[in-house]
């Protein structure tokens, strides 16, 4: 199975479908939706098959393909999957059909808000929306699958375009100005980061040309280069800032709340759930292996930004009144945990961080879904428009609570495993930092349960809310797989860990970072270095 070009197929299917869906005439909107749903489900099935075909213990990229693209500059179409990119591709392909189904009725405009929305509705093209989703899926898969740094950069930038339109054209209905502002802000931030990265990518090319005679963008070749520490630092910063904006990390985050609040539900899920992961993915995939010395040098700075982000994001989340902004700020805190786990440079921290990326996609995705359901029902993102909703929408409240508990990393649910791994992995190297970061779990409880209390419990505040319906069958189908995964990955995360761990371990070992040994080794614990199938 390993010779099958899984990744190329995964890229082609949604790309073709995007063109087809785009061509569907406006009056056949339902057909466009059905095609999109079918294709994205098939796509997820393919990703699952690829995961089964993947051999975790084998070193290096699998399903690799390489075709020369721009020969003069050594650019190639080259793709491949390792444990880190594979689970993120799996996450992306899972969330897209969820988003498709969740956006089924939302795209055209508010289903029940009625008044005022009517003329706006007609201007929104349903088929274009779903074509954009498919295009975005191509970008997301490409960015994770690329093993050529230039190709990565191309996908990195190409993803922006569909996302820009999703926010700008399909965002919050009544807030035309804020919507455009959020979309432009998102674009400018990302472009700025992208430019820095482009400079660094070219820098890498120059270094490789210097050392090898011919320049290359091939990732595997580039990581063998011996770059001087000074140059490493510069190039590291180019990549790092691009990723820190993308993720985002404090203090590069201010575009996120705007974009999160103004995106349509589906856009927000993909934006925060997957697109932002490109930033955290980049940190562990590119920054650490390509610039090992610079990574060690800058690690304290990244860790400092991470821990500030954990508290800053959490405190700001507590203070929000806009539910979507609130969820966006919780993500800032979560990205802090991910960055911390990555730059603790231990296999536990790194594995936890990658697992965290997947888990955060699920839990925040579910939170955005539930908030989206509420907004569709009551037409407001403001917390005060709710109160006592559990009475009329018990199932929605239950799902909300599960999403929230996952976000606050309750054991038994997915995020706990990753958060604890991040903290324990950090603790073995940076004790004081881990102790402070652990205190962040109290704030997580506050931002989630305080939100839940204000929206779901207490007496029903608004008369109009009495008629609000609980989750429809379609909505239940949307949330069911996510809820199931949140629980399953909390109880039995081993399948994912077994895919992630070898790649992370090898990445850190190649960069010269070994896990600190226990200070009092008792029964010599079974160290799995040999099982890790370390890249040599």
């Amino acid at each position: 199975m390993n010779s099958f070009p899984w990744l190329t197929v995964l890229l082609i299917v949604p790309a073709v479908a995007a063109v087809v869906v785009m061509a569907v005439p406006r009056r056949f909107a339902t057909v466009a939706k059905q095609i999109t749903l079918a294709v994205t489900l098939v796509e997820f099935g393919l990703a699952l098959l690829a995961t089964i075909a993947y051999e975790p213990s084998r070193a290096g990229f699998q399903f690799a393909q390489k075709y020369s693209w721009i020969r003069q500059f050594g650019v190639s179409y080259s793709v491949g999957a390792d444990g880190i990119s594979l689970v993120l591709i799996l996450l992306a392909t899972l969330l897209v059909p969820v988003v498709v189904l969740a956006s089924w009725d939302e795209v055209a405009g508010p289903a029940q808000a009625g008044a005022g929305g009517a003329d706006v509705v007609s201007r929104r093209s349903v088929s274009a929306f779903f074509a954009l989703l498919l295009a975005l899926e191509v970008g997301m898969i490409g960015v994770f699958a690329a093993t050529d740094v230039f190709l990565f950069y191309v996908f990195f930038e190409a993803m922006l375009i569909p996302m820009y339109f999703l926010i700008g054209s399909y965002g919050a209905v009544k807030e035309q100005a804020q919507r455009s502002y959020a979309a432009v802000k998102f674009l400018l931030y990302s472009l700025f980061g992208g430019l820095l990265m482009l400079a660094a990518v070219i820098g890498l090319y120059v270094v490789s040309a210097d050392q090898l005679g011919t320049g290359t963008f091939d990732f595997a070749t580039l990581r063998q280069l011996d770059i001087t520490p000074g140059v490493q630092k510069l190039l590291f910063l180019g990549f790092f800032i691009a990723f820190a904006i993308k993720a985002p990390l404090f203090p590069f985050h201010t575009w996120l709340p705007d974009a999160g609040a103004q995106s349509p539900t589906g856009g927000a899920i993909l934006l925060v759930g997957v697109l932002d992961k490109v930033g955290t993915f980049g940190l562990i995939r590119y920054c650490i292996p390509l610039f090992p010395d610079a990574s060690s040098y800058f690690a304290p700075m990244v860790l400092a930004l991470a821990v500030v982000g954990i508290f800053y994001g959490a405190l700001l989340a507590i203070g929000q009144r806009d539910m979507k902004r609130l969820v966006a700020y919780t993500s800032l805190a979560h990205f802090g945990f991910i960055a911390m786990g990555t730059f603790a440079l231990t296999s536990q921290g790194g594995t936890g961080a990658v697992l965290y990326m997947v888990n955060h996609g699920l839990s925040t995705g579910l939170l955005f879904l539930v908030v989206g359901f509420l907004v569709t029902r009551r037409g407001s993102r403001d917390v005060s428009a709710y109160g006592g909703m559990a009475k009329v929408t018990p199932v929605l409240a239950g799902v909300f609570l599960i999403a929230g508990l996952s976000s606050l990393a309750l054991p038994g649910l997915n995020s706990f495993v990753s958060e604890f791994l991040v903290l324990a992995g950090t603790f073995t190297r940076y004790r004081a930092l881990a102790i402070v970061a652990t205190c962040g779990i109290v704030l997580a409880a506050i931002y989630i349960l305080y939100l839940f209390q204000r929206t779901m419990t207490g007496p029903l505040v608004h008369e109009q809310a009495k008629g609000v319906l609980d989750l429809s069958v379609r909505e239940k189908i949307v949330v069911a797989p996510v809820v199931a995964l949140i629980i399953a990955l909390g109880v039995y995360p081993k399948p994912l860990i077994d895919i992630i761990r070898p790649t992370v371990t090898a990445t850190f070992e190649d960069a010269g970072h070994t896990d600190p040994a226990p200070s009092v080794p008792v029964n010599a614990a079974p160290v799995n270095a040999s099982q890790a199938g370390g890249h040599s």
Partner: protein, 649 residues
């Protein structure tokens, strides 16, 4: 080395161990997913799973009895949970002498309270959900006491917090219930930070979170004293959060917003005693660190008195019982803090307390039920004739808690007081006196509660707008109270006679070293304890039986300073609000402002300055220069501070 660290594999009937957890978990899942379709029989299913779990517990217990004394620790490996190189955590269970007692208590008392709730919640439209959450609680609590490593224990630890949260806010359209649930979760999470850090410390120190590895290293003395003390203190922080001990006691009285069966099961008999379990379980760590144990006994002794004093001032029957729980757990903390001399005593008192406090809460629930939800004891009185079974069972539990011989509290509390004095030196006298004084005040406030509720004049009316028609509760409610009363009567004696519990637990917590010389002869001390308790009783009798009880409490101006302070929970809430909540709120508001005009502003301002985003942006950024400067400074300070943390290692 007091510890047999070889766990036998679970074969034979022990292979059923996982069923203990899975039965109630399946019950919860079916009831939650089944929705309204399960309304009709949900309570029966919930009770059946609890009862079956109890039967399994009995089978396992007798199987354990059948093994030889030093081979009574059986572990069952379920699956590999979190395997990342040197971090290997398995989902594994451990059934030994200590967890066996807890499993019996949890499933036994749990089943009784399930039965009771069938009647208590009969008219609640959401009764099914109530049983689902109770089942979820049983599963979580069993996970807590059965886990064979600290991370699984931690999972159970947080999950019981979730069930507690769900059940406190069960009547969630009451804002007070929702607030109390959140408060409980927040304060528990503060404790959870301690437990989580303790687990990380263990991993960083010995490379494992398994009981056998950690305890083996602790007992072998290879872990430095400082590290060991740090781990013990962090565990203690967790224990204080879960068990409502100072300084994290303020959530427990508020938790009484939950339905009364919950107060009995979670907030009296089982979950809140988890802190005692944790310390007793981690005894190899605590035994090695005198410093940490000193903190434990101080917290224990202090909390005994805090709970007692506040318990005297409340008129709400459940609040009094809640503070009584705080205070009784203080005894248990005091006991386990005494080290090898006290671990078994703490567990003994915990089990006895499980009986009598659950009985008291169920009795109070019966009274509240009869009085249409009224919880103010000043509106009770003379109920004993109308509710004879409730009165009798409640009475036995009441006599047990104040330590009347030969009921259980007499044996178990007496032993703790004795052990505290036997600690020797000034500290022994201080701790012993605190425990002794506590016994006196306990007798006072419990007698006050008993008399105000069941005796004296009747202060309610069966006519008018607040008409009450008290009546005995249905059999389904009184039934479970009877076994609890019997337990409250005889358990203590059974535990103490022949040192049965101490011998049983010795392989886990070590032989309890009898102090060679008693500070005071046990007989004298017993007499003294009885005398002090009698004093407390007499005080309450004079004040609440021989004199009429005011129908409304006297205003603050007419009562003493201590009473005023006690009515305000000794200012614990005021303290928390002033020191944590308000500054937190201000910080949050400030940051929200700063992030909008400051951090975002810096970026927008820079962008505008460089090339200009748009005229509109340029306008908004002018005039905010100072806030940019402020936020840049603030951000820099934060990052530099965090850098110090990183460098601190």
């Amino acid at each position: 080395m007091p510890h047999e660290l070889q766990y036998a594999p679970a074969v034979g009937s022990f292979s059923l161990m996982w069923l203990l957890l899975v039965l109630p978990l399946a019950g919860a899942a079916i009831l939650l997913l089944g929705g309204r379709r399960t309304d009709r029989w949900g309570h029966l299913l919930g009770t059946a799973t609890a009862a079956t779990s109890f039967v399994v517990a009995l089978v396992l217990f007798f199987a354990l009895l059948g093994r030889s004394g030093d081979d009574r620790a059986v572990s069952q490996h379920l699956f590999s949970w979190i395997p990342v190189n040197s971090f290997q955590v398995d989902a594994g269970l451990l059934f030994d002498q200590l967890s066996a007692l807890f499993v019996l208590l949890i499933t036994g008392v749990g089943t009784l309270i399930h039965v009771y709730s069938i009647g208590y919640m009969a008219h609640d439209p959401a009764r099914r959900k109530f049983f689902a959450y109770m089942n979820l609680f049983l599963a979580s609590m069993l996970l807590l006491v059965l886990g064979d490593n600290f991370l699984v224990l931690y999972a159970g630890w947080e999950l019981v917090g979730l069930s507690s949260y769900l059940l406190i806010k069960f009547w969630e359209d009451k804002p007070a219930a929702a607030t109390a649930a959140n408060k409980a979760f927040y304060m528990n999470r503060v404790g959870d930070v301690g437990l989580a850090l303790a687990v990380m410390f263990m991993f960083a120190t010995v490379g494992s979170t398994n009981f056998d590895t950690v305890f083996g290293a602790a007992a072998a003395g290879v872990i430095g004293y400082g590290t060991l003390t740090a781990i013990a203190l962090l565990l203690l922080l967790g224990a204080c959060g879960k068990s409502g001990q100072f300084p994290l006691q303020a959530w427990l009285p508020d938790a009484m917003e939950g339905p009364t069966p919950i107060s009995a099961l979670i907030h009296a008999a089982t979950m809140v005693t988890a802190g005692v379990y944790l310390i007793a379980r981690a005894n190899p760590i605590f035994t090695e660190t005198q410093a940490a144990r000193t903190v434990v006994v101080i917290i224990g002794a202090g909390t005994i008195l805090i709970g007692c004093v506040i318990g005297c001032a409340y008129d709400d029957i459940k609040k009094v019982l809640a503070y009584s729980t705080v205070s009784q757990i203080g005894y248990m903390f005091l006991a386990v803090g005494l080290g090898p001399a006290g671990y078994a005593l703490g567990i003994m008192h915990l089990l006895a307390h499980g009986f009598f406090k659950a009985g008291l809460f169920l009795g109070s629930g019966s009274v509240i039920h009869a009085m249409n939800g009224e919880q103010d004891m000043r509106k009770y009185g003379a109920l004993w004739r109308l509710m004879p079974i409730t009165w009798a069972t409640f009475g036995i539990c009441y006599l047990a808690i104040i330590g009347v011989p030969p009921l259980s509290g007499f044996f178990t509390k007496d032993k703790i007081i004795e052990a505290a004095f036997d600690k020797g030196g000034t500290s022994g006298y201080l701790l012993g006196s605190a425990a002794l004084l506590g016994a006196g005040i306990t007798a006072f406030y419990m007698t006050r509660l008993f008399l105000m509720t069941f005796h004296g004049e009747r202060r309610w009316s069966d006519t008018g707008p607040e008409a009450r028609h008290p009546h005995e509760s249905p059999t389904v409610m009184t039934g479970p109270m009877v076994p609890l009363a019997i337990g409250a009567a005889v358990a203590g004696g059974l535990f103490v006679l022949g040192g049965s519990i101490q011998n049983w637990l010795a392989p886990v917590v070590g032989e309890s070293v009898e102090a060679g010389v008693h500070t005071m002869s046990p007989a004298v001390l017993t007499a003294l304890t009885l005398l002090v308790a009698a004093g407390g009783f007499a005080g309450a009798y004079l004040r609440y039986q021989l004199r009429p009880v005011d129908a409304v409490a006297r205003p603050d101006a007419e009562v003493g300073l201590v009473t005023v302070a006690a009515r305000r929970d000794l200012y614990a809430n005021t303290f928390n609000e002033t020191v944590f909540m308000r500054p937190g709120q201000y910080a949050t508001r400030f940051l929200v402002w700063l992030d909008t005009v400051g951090v975002d502003g810096v970026v927008r301002g820079t962008a505008a300055a460089v090339g200009g985003l748009s005229g509109r942006l340029r306008r908004t950024q002018t005039g905010f220069v100072r806030s940019y400067a402020l936020s840049m400074l603030g951000g820099a300070v934060l990052v530099v501070g965090a850098l110090y943390l990183v460098k601190a290692g």
